[in-house]
Symmetry: C2
Subunit: 244 residues, 2 copies
DNA sequence: CGCAATATTGACCATCATCAATTGGCGTGG
DNA sequence: CCACGCCAATTGATGATGGTCAATATTGCG
């Protein structure tokens, strides 16, 4: 399983290879920053940040707390993601990033980014691209929350997660480690914990998936994709074809 | 009411003023393209685009059709918006843009954008910023669909729309023209038309708003914001303070 | 072996969808 | 100027999806 920094460098070359000095420059501004343990925030809401955060290993999520105590998770973030990249441009965080498991993270200072994007326009484009894919995923979630029922939402999430984790070497064959509580899935899908549980049980009963501990096995890809109305195009991933 | 191109140029300077030659360059690549009438698509899903579209006047929406016939609207787009800006970087459209009213549009070719962003990094940054604000709005909608009930969703949408339209001169005092059918509001908020109607009636009955034809008057700002859990920060607008 | 966090299940309830009319506004042809 | 027709808004009746509350079972772990 590759470390997040290599994943990032690789991903930034989806559009076209970067030159050696560009890669070198990128590598040089990624500074390992240590570990954040589960349930702690990697990025706080509202603080004016001076750096972005790269996830080297572990699972995180972007979320927002509501006045009434509810929580909406906007995205799951995995190694190679820079969940707060947008702070480089917008200058402040409008939501928090929390660690769902223990996470190794690295910092990329805004100052360094400033330099490097000034010097290498190709890197600017690649980063911009990253942030647009992030937005495309958010729109797909929006579609799900607005117009898909619980069964389809869970199926869709599993498909998406499989694809994204496969791309960073965190899924083998038909199995993915998904160290996320049902309560967290519920907060991502706009459902209650109870209903997520029932829905996953139904998916098991229908033999689309099986799960144990934190790992999910996909038993019937075709059926799962259909149930979730899943089409990987929006992930804009180089290998966006179907895995089967 | 300013035309969309001036709105755009102005908005691109939120972070800092552009130089005269930068503005000149921007102006020069905006080519008026005519009118798209209601219910027609401004941008088709899946076509490889060679230009972006600026809305000069009128109302549009970003949407996606689902296999089961449903529709999810991801965003309402108003004069000054470039709804398909992301195609410049990602190279293809993963959803359609439709005209909700007759729209005057202009085209900005990818080729010209290529030139201008290469020449003026400040413009690149400003455009990147635009696309990030777009994403921030999508996340806020995500929060609403996931965790707010119908009453709060409608209230929130009205607050948001008021702010955005005020910024482009399409709202006066407490009134905004919102030429959107209830069925379209429903598709944006993940509700049924019937329920949108009932909810708006309730908002009227509670004297938070009144509406007639296509225009909405906000009768009680404080209550409306509270009901919608609305905080304009995510709009990243220069005048993001409260309007009252 | 016992605790604490999750997962699971049952019973009951609320929000919101669906189906089906009815009403109202407004442009058009006579 | 008025009748017709269409589209959108409105309202009522009924039902389903998913929420809430409350136990009970598992599982990981010290």
């Amino acid at each position: 399983m590759p470390q997040g920094n290599h994943v990032l460098i690789e991903r930034l070359q989806t559009d076209g290879p970067l030159a050696a000095d560009e890669i070198q420059a990128l590598m040089s501004i990624i500074r390992p920053r240590g570990q954040v343990s589960r349930h702690n925030d990697i990025v706080l809401e509202g603080t004016p940040p001076d750096h972005c955060t790269l996830i080297l290993s572990g699972f995180a999520c972007r979320y927002k707390l509501l006045p009434d105590g509810g929580r909406q998770i906007h995205a799951f973030k995995i190694p190679g993601d820079v969940p707060d990249l947008y702070t480089f441009i917008l200058g402040f965080t409008d939501h928090a990033i929390g660690a769902l498991t223990s996470c190794d993270v690295a910092a990329i200072s805004h100052h360094d980014l400033e330099q490097i994007t000034r010097m290498f326009p190709k890197i600017t484009r690649a980063l911009w691209r990253e942030s647009l894919i992030d937005a495309a995923i958010a729109r797909e979630w929006l579609t799900g929350l607005g117009r898909r029922d619980a069964y389809a939402r869970v199926a869709h999430l599993i498909c998406e997660q499989y694809h994204r984790m496969k791309a960073v070497g965190l899924a083998q064959k038909d199995m993915l480690e998904f160290p996320v509580r049902q309560a967290e899935i519920a907060d991502a899908l706009g459902l209650s914990t109870v209903h997520v549980n029932r829905t996953m049980k139904t998916l098991s009963r229908n033999r689309l998936i099986s799960y144990r501990n934190q790992s999910i096995t996909i038993l019937n890809w075709q059926a799962l994709q259909t149930a979730g109305q899943f089409d990987p195009a929006y992930l804009h991933s180089p290998d966006a074809g179907s895995p089967h």
